[in-house]
């Protein structure tokens, strides 16, 4: 299921789960029949077991503090035999390559690991219909690809809403495209691909031309031999070095848990390295992974204006630059996930920093908006250094002059 942010994909997923109309208010017309049940008369809890849903944000779905308890929870709710619950939970984790996480605490998991746990919780139920709302948003490319192929091989009906369509398009049978709440395409894969090529080429697997790079200017930020560990634990970043120059867009890529966000925060001055030096010349602005951290004010323009001493005129310009013109009076919490991501981007762009650091800026953003974002970053690259932390290798190829790859646990070298 593809479509721009705010087109209704998540709402349709919820309709299939019965959450619309039972959990969410509003006006409901027509009917939805799932596994022989009319969702107007069957509550979502009664559909659980036949239908399993994984929502966009894994952190807002977990109940327990330990992985094995979390995965077992759904099985308990649907009345699975007590003696079988633990083994079914372990099997679900193993199917996702996450069996090693069984005894771990949820709070210790990375975003990608947590998403796998949520998926395991759904798979454990052995549903007939699996609903996945942007399940790869927090996964690195290898993990995302593995997940998509796993979902395709389950032998159950799978509805996957995605903003990284390349992988799903390879394995799906059918494609829906939504726009403004309307299904504008419902076709077999090959026909759908031809339609996308004519009408929405951004959604197809692309090999974008690398950007035309201008010579890099002065060094804005230099990290030398930096190391960092959280709370006395093992080092997340060890003996890393990185140099960021004016006019240069650098993409920082790597698997989940490799230390990309930590390195980015060190560069932004939000963390002090345990060892090594960070030489930052000028102002840095950092866009956090979670757009929910940019919901402090009651209006979008006031939220953006926080970083520029309340200048709502500049905030309006920044909102327009990210495609949110006309959203000034909207409450940030009324925005869709992709719109919130763009609002967060406006919050940091408006400050016009010397070093702009974006941590996963394309999460929940549709391909057309990603192209617009890449163009925006390239257009404004001349005046600053830009560091983009991303799993999206297509976006990275489109926007970056240079790619730096973080492995586990090798150091980064610019």
């Amino acid at each position: 299921m593809l479509g721009p942010s705010g087109s209704g994909k998540s709402t349709l997923v919820r309709a299939l789960a019965g959450l619309v109309p039972h959990f969410h208010g509003g006006r409901f017309e027509g009917s939805v029949e799932v596994c022989g049940e009319d969702t107007r008369r069957t509550r979502p809890a009664d559909l659980a077991g036949q239908v399993a849903t994984v929502f966009q944000d894994p952190e807002e779905q977990v109940v327990f503090g330990r992985v094995e308890d979390e995965v077992a929870f759904g099985l308990e709710n649907v009345g699975a035999p007590p003696a079988a619950i633990a083994s079914q939970a372990r099997a679900a984790l193993a199917a996702l390559g996450a069996e090693h996480l069984a005894g771990r605490r949820i709070a210790e998991l990375s975003a990608g690991e947590l998403q796998r746990v949520c998926l395991a919780s759904a798979l454990a139920l052995e549903p007939e219909l699996l609903l996945l709302d942007e399940p790869t948003s927090q996964l690195d490319p290898d993990a995302a690809d593995a997940l998509v192929r796993l979902a395709a091989g389950l032998g159950v009906a799978v509805v996957m809403s995605e903003q990284r369509p390349a992988g799903p398009l390879e394995v799906c049978d059918r494609v829906l495209f939504l726009e403004d709440g309307v299904v504008v395409l419902d076709a077999e894969r090959d026909s759908a691909v031809r339609w996308l090529a004519r009408n929405r080429p951004a959604y197809l697997d692309r090999h974008p031309e690398p950007p035309v790079s201008a010579p890099a200017g002065l060094c804005v930020c230099r990290l030398e031999h930096v190391s960092y560990a959280y709370g006395g634990g093992p080092p997340v970043v060890e003996d890393a070095g990185l140099e960021l120059r004016v006019g240069e867009v650098v993409a920082l890529v790597g698997p989940n848990g490799s230390g990309k966000t930590t390195l980015a925060k060190l560069a932004a001055g939000l963390l002090e390295p345990a060892r090594g030096t960070v030489d930052l010349r000028g102002r840095a602005a950092y866009l956090a992974q979670d757009p929910g951290r940019y919901l402090v004010r009651d209006r979008a323009d006031e939220e953006v204006a926080l970083g520029v001493d309340g200048d709502v005129a500049r905030a309006s310009v920044a909102l327009a630059a990210v495609g949110l013109a006309g959203f000034e009076e909207r409450h940030p919490r009324d925005l869709s996930s992709g719109e919130r991501e763009r609002l967060a981007l406006a919050c940091v762009l408006v400050t016009e920093p010397d070093l702009l650091i974006l941590d996963e800026p394309t999460r929940g953003v549709d391909p057309e908006r990603k192209d617009a974002l890449a163009a925006l970053l390239r257009a404004r690259a001349a005046g600053r250094a830009t560091l983009v932390v991303t799993h999206d290798v297509v976006f990275a190829a489109e926007v970056a002059d240079r790619m730096v790859s973080l492995g586990v646990p090798e150091a980064v070298h610019a």
């Binding site: 929502f55 807002e60 308890d69 649907v78 007590p82 929910g292």
Partner: protein, 233 residues
């Protein structure tokens, strides 16, 4: 040891601290509980609980002489306040305050040990009755650390765009978005619970590991501790 018998043991020690007659017994119980708490991983959380226990006990010690009127050996005589009477502090009141403070310290440290050392999820999953209440307690115990993480995230995001958060006023401005964020999180969690079948009849529970001899011994010890506390300590 399973969390349930361990919790029973901590509760018994707290009860014994309240019930024991001799102050030396109360002091020993408090000392043992303090040693147990210090065995927990050091960090901000442990410091908070211990500081809270100490502060509570100190408050009781300081206030007791002014709310009780016992003894005939005044150490200090203060002003006469209408209705309240003459303020004074006697040796007996100080001694009584010290014992009351020790009791409260013992109870506070028992709770601190429960909070710091036990796996609350495992403890509450071992409870057979009151499944919905169990879940509510599980989620509530995670509320404070979740809010702390949210607040840290908000502050980091603000710092990331050059907005400093300083002073009481600056931090107070975070209360509204934190509350709104909590409500939104609760709403999304409720949606997830509904989708995962929570609340439908016929739910089961995963088999819990059987208690070992050490667990039964701890439970028996907890009962014995309370009895000994009442009768002899």
């Amino acid at each position: 040891m399973k969390p349930a018998p361990a919790a029973a043991l901590f509760a018994a020690m707290g009860a014994a601290a309240l019930l024991a007659e001799r102050w030396i017994s109360v002091a020993v119980i408090a000392a043992v509980l303090l040693a147990v708490c210090l065995a927990a991983a050091s960090g901000r959380r442990r410091s908070l609980y211990l500081a809270g226990a100490a502060l509570t006990a100190l408050s009781v010690f300081l206030l007791t002489p002014f709310v009780e009127t016992i003894g005939s050996h005044p150490i200090w005589t203060g002003p006469t306040i209408p209705v309240v009477g003459t303020l004074d502090v006697t040796r007996e009141e100080l001694a009584g305050g010290a014992v009351a403070a020790l009791r409260l310290l013992g109870v506070s440290l028992a709770f601190a040990a429960y909070a710091l050392l036990l796996d609350h999820d495992r403890l509450l999953r071992s409870v057979r009755a009151g499944r919905r209440s169990t879940l509510a307690v599980v989620l509530a115990t995670r509320l404070v650390p979740t809010l702390e993480r949210d607040a840290a995230g908000l502050i980091e995001a603000l710092r990331g765009r050059g907005v400093a958060v300083a002073g009481a006023r600056g931090h107070a401005r975070l209360v509204s978005p934190l509350v709104a964020g909590s409500l939104e999180r609760a709403y999304n969690l409720a949606e997830s619970l509904e989708a995962r079948g929570y609340g439908r009849p016929g739910g089961t529970r995963a088999l819990q590991p059987s208690w070992r001899p050490l667990d039964w011994l701890a439970l028996a010890g907890a009962v014995a501790f309370v009895v000994v506390g009442v009768l002899w300590l």
